[in-house]
Amino acid sequence: MRTRKVNMIISLVTIMGGMALVVACGQRNATTVIEGDAAEQVYIAPGEYDEFYAFLSGGFSGQITVYGLPSGRLLREVPVFSQYPENGYGYSEESKPMFNTSYGFVPWDDSHHIELSQQNGEFDGRWLFVNGNNTPRIARVDLSTFETVEILEIPDVAGLHCAPFITENSEYLVSGTRFSIPIPQKDVPIDTYKENFKGLINYVSLDQDHGTMELAFQIEMPGFNYDLARNGKAVSHGWSFLTTYNSEQAHSLLEVNASQKDKDLMAIINWKKAEEYVAAGKFTERPTSYYHNLMDESTGIAHSQEMKMTRILKPEDCPEMVYFIPVPKSPHGCDVDPSGEYIVGNGKLSADMSVYSFSKIMKAIEEKNFDGEIEGIPVINYDAGLHGILQKPGLGPLHTEFDEGGNAYTTFFISSEVVKWNVDNLEILDREATFYSPGHLVIPGGETRKPEGKYLVAMNKITKDRYLPTGPELAHSAQLFDISGDKMKLLLDFPTKGEPHYAQAIRADKVKPNSKKFYNIEENAHPYATLGESKTKVVREGDEVHVYMTAMRSHLAPDNIEGFKVGDKVFFHVTNLEQDWDVPHGFAIQGATNAELLVMPGQTKTLLWEPKKVGVYAFYCTDFCSALHQEMSGYARVSAKGADVPLKWGLNETLRENQEQAEKFYEQLENKSK
């Protein structure tokens, strides 16, 4: 007990001392002088476009935000794991199934790591993946629409932080459990951690044409905490690298008890070998429960499927599949350089950074240069796999990305800086202050085989005095650096939403040309779509009422409806008939307790309304769509339960005549599609 306390004091003193040291030698003024042309470098003239899209995860907001670089302008927030009042995601009947999990409807999560799809180790601009930590899930966003189209739950893991890292041809998304738990879940004392707790590393395969995800297999690992991962590329393609902490297997006061050993471990997985074992049937099938939610492209309706079986590979049954190598204390990132040869292991609580050589690791495996094993997994001799050590680069190294010139850039959380260093000769080249406590950083393509080392964005956890104060809560901050020269140069601060945990950035011309302008109404296969105002109707089925409604500048059809009764379940199926870019229509009705809708051109969305009081209620379009937007409204009459008011609906007849052409147009379409 006494030694433990002493240890704790020593480690705290070391950190504080380190901080004091850094502060003493690098006391920086927050108003760092910006060199002359910084403003010009980030200025995007009106009507011009940014060079890169940067996708930032929203951390505790559960979403993704899209920024333009170098301007730092917020272009869009893409809702993923949290209901989103701006467009009705998670509120509309079509999108609610996206939140189904084995724990029920979970409308808020914590999203952390963004992964863009790749081909040949380069971003291809098709899909974006992100993890949900708390209820372990991986989501896919389609970059032609910037909409979340799929969410796959990962079973039997806890805190899916270590996810979803992609392989260089988008074969797999690799993830690891942050917290180990009993597998399968059972009622055991927490202090039986060592006997009962396990960690899973999960491989999700991707359909190469549609991006659809499938849980291919899981590898059962010792009960450590798995934190971050990277897959090999080029020479190291076929291998995954995952950092682990808490190799002490502590279960309480982890800040001390999981920070005892000088070294933790990096897991090294030969996934091609794992594939062979799966093909050879070396897995055990274990009953479990997880949800797969997929949006149907033609209807825009998400469907959930409960999956009940998973395949588990056990390292002791599958030799040469999994190895460990020691890594400095409490590692975070394990980042692979563009050549695929070097793997950077950051110890958050270590003053040094270990840089491994893939070829040396392979040689050590070949020569069986092991220092024992853990639960049947060989531990490679640390020195045998080491390329070298970057000594005392800063405090709290977190994440490293690379440029195309053999340089690495690492964020240092404790000493609040970004450090540039040479991967080959391990020489420190430059350091720049950040404001404050950066977590991850991003260089466009900086984790791929083709980095574009022009800009670097550091994502800071703390903002303090960077912006006008907004009470106790401040927006987190991102900072843009120019890294095209020998020395890094701070260009811009910009506020972010939620916690900008992690990001990837891609050249705009890989995404922009594929961006959809509207949904083709011919392809709208929604079962409640209304293709033309003449098709609008109201149908009662018991106490369910379905309103087939259309929206077009500047009216909703029908705009007067009578015959609803208290206690009905009214489904407003609103089809936006527009076929023009950037003309969504909204729908809101007084007394709706389930938010509102925003319907894109060509789409159908459904709002469930349960009228509770007799009266006449207004509904209206919520998106300012035209000069007559304010007039885009109507009334719904609600009668008492059991009243004999018949269902009636309509729209002013002269206006109807005006729409004759549009109606015929949709009729023709409908006939064509028959």
Partner: protein
């Protein structure tokens, strides 16, 4: 026959082919430019149809036009688009007859009929534009006193928030060229007779 008479026949053949191009290229193009429509809305008038720079332009123009009470453009409701193609085919056949007969008076009458039809066509186009621009729904949401929304027949004009350009397109150019070639055929053939 000598070489010169061949030239007249070739010119007339050229005129017939130029008319054929009316089935491949629009006669006229009306462009509507406004701040909220980057790149503008292009409306093409063909001998047999009306189209836009994308397939939804007519629908989108109709949505805009309904504010001021303009009738929706409905290509199926314009009978000229059905019979004009036959007139053109007729004139192509007439041109072929001219080549066979190879007489100056045939060429001249072809040219005169063509000019007459062209003028009628332009007058008809004017009437349609006039009708669209002036016959507005009295219940239209936006009414501006003494305002008509007739696009220019030829040239450019401000129409509320739109700047409208109206000019011949390739079809129109080839129509004019057909008349010139016919006139050339008449001129060459006639010169040979009178010289």
């Amino acid at each position: 026959m000598n070489g010169k008479s061949h030239i007249a026949q070739f010119l007339m053949l050229g005129a017939v082919l130029c008319l054929g191009i009316l089935f491949l290229q629009p006669l006229w193009k009306i462009t509507l430019e406004a701040a909220q429509f980057p790149g503008g809305l292009d409306l093409y008038i063909w001998i047999n149809k009306i189209s836009g720079n994308d397939k939804h332009i007519i629908q989108n123009i109709n949505i805009l036009n309904h504010y001021i009470g303009m009738k929706p453009i409905h290509p199926d409701a314009i009978p000229e688009l059905r019979y004009f193609p036959w007139v053109v085919i007729g004139m192509m056949a007439f041109g072929l007859i001219c080549i066979g007969v190879n007489r100056p008076w045939f060429y001249l009458s072809w040219v005169l009929v063509m000019i007459g039809l062209g003028a009628l066509g332009i007058y008809d186009f004017y009437l349609w534009l006039y009708d669209y621009g002036h016959n507005l729904d009295p219940n239209a949401p936006i009414k501006i006193a003494n305002m008509n929304y007739m696009p220019p027949l030829f040239g450019e004009k401000d129409l509320l928030n739109f700047y409208v350009r109206s000019y011949p397109n390739w079809g129109g150019v080839f129509l004019g060229l057909a008349i010139l070639l016919g006139a050339g055929a008449f001129y060459l053939k006639g010169k040979r007779v009178y010289v």
